[in-house]
Amino acid sequence: MSRSSSWAREALAVFGKDCLLELRTRVALGAVLLFAVTSVVASGFALAPPSGVAGEVKASLLWVIVFFAAIAGLSRVFVVEEETRTADALRLAVSPTGVFVGKLAFNIALMWALCVVTVPLYLLLLEVPVRHWSLFVTVVILGSTALACATTAVGAIVAKATMRGALFGVLAFPVALPPLLVAIHATKAAWLSEGGWRMATGDLQVLVGFMLVIVPASLLVFEHIWSE
């Protein structure tokens, strides 16, 4: 038995463990997909015929659905360890950084799975004409990753708070608003505008910048909250 040590290895172990748990219990995926698919289908029926609905509205609706689905499923990754009383076992075996990065990776994977199912369905049901496919795919990947970062950050910060539910809502709003707004703007550019990439470059930079700020900042806070 040999031994190595790094937070990347720890994060990989936590990620693998959470994937396995998800495979067995399907708690998060169930919550996320059920919410997203229901909302998409409902929108498809409610807005028929979709040709009469402005692209701006469709872009906003898509990201609002993705955002709420994320909140329904992603925010609980830390709390669930406390509830199943496995948090101390994790604290004994893994550094706070390892836990945080592993959980973040799991949430990003969940978000991508959500988008793979929801986005094509949405495009189909709401008859969205996409002008710039490569840009649209980039926006979905960056936007969903940024939302995963935002919900993981807030979930980490409120993990041990007593008024968790209320606090989560209060914090999630300001944290998730910036990536949400730019993702909607960039999506409109990908669907409708002549400009395409040129119109959306600033948005994509904001999304990347947002992640570069929110991840280290919330990690810093999490390290203090998690061990005590």
């Binding site: 038995m1 031994r3 040590s5 990989l12 693998g16 463990k17 396995l20 067995r24 004994l92």
Partner: protein, 206 residues
């Protein structure tokens, strides 16, 4: 290899209610020590402070290796702990739990190694069953294996005998004996069957 744990004037309050006050003690490997006291006297709290899971409100716990002080990360690597309120992942199987904790701790093990570990506690035939389907005594035996998967020099046991039959108790005694040949074992208990593990380190009041 010389391991030492020092409790320096440790105190703990929960919401300003004192649970532990001014506890000082020192243990040096090898050996077994017990923390004794009635229900609610703070045994589990003290053990968690020693493990680094709780921060004391007063004083500190220091780990020394050949006189050098360990930091939080090094401490994590040398401690293994079993406690009633530290659970395993119930939807995962016995071997998946072991594999996760081994990997998380950077121990490279083959499934063969894990199966022979499970053999030691008579759980080999249940290796691929979810922990949720185990009896309390079986879970307890698996917890002990999990705590030892990285061969820690320090083993902390909180009421290790709870829910165990005579064979299970014998396994714990054996584990403690083996561990105490080189390392440190600290047992928190008020079970008379467990009192003879080692010399009392601390006797807590009510």
């Amino acid at each position: 290899m010389n391991w030492q744990i020092e409790l320096r004037r440790v105190g703990k309050e929960y919401n300003e209610r004192p649970v532990l006050q001014d506890i000082s003690a020192s243990v040096t490997a090898p050996g077994v020590w017990t923390i004794l006291g009635p229900n609610g006297s703070g045994k589990s709290t003290l053990l968690k402070i020693i493990a680094g899971l709780l921060t004391p409100t007063e004083g500190e716990v220091v780990y020394l290796h050949n006189g050098e002080r360990l930091n939080a990360q090094q401490r994590r690597q040398v401690v293994g702990m079993v406690a009633p309120d530290i659970a395993l992942y119930r939807p995962l199987t016995a071997i998946e739990n072991l594999r996760f904790f081994a990997r998380a701790r950077g121990v490279r093990v083959q499934d063969g190694d894990l199966l022979s570990l499970l053999e030691q506690v008579h759980l080999r035939s249940r290796a691929h069953d979810p922990v949720a389907t185990f009896s309390t005594g079986m879970v307890q035996r698996l917890k002990v294996l999990t705590a030892l998967v990285h061969r820690p020099p320090v083993l902390l046991l909180d009421e290790p005998g709870s829910n165990l039959d005579e064979a299970g108790m014998e396994f714990i005694r054996h584990t403690v004996r083996v561990q105490a040949e080189h390392g440190i074992v600290i047992v928190a208990t008020n079970d008379t069957r467990e009192l003879d593990y080692g010399e009392p380190l601390i006797q807590l009041g009510a």
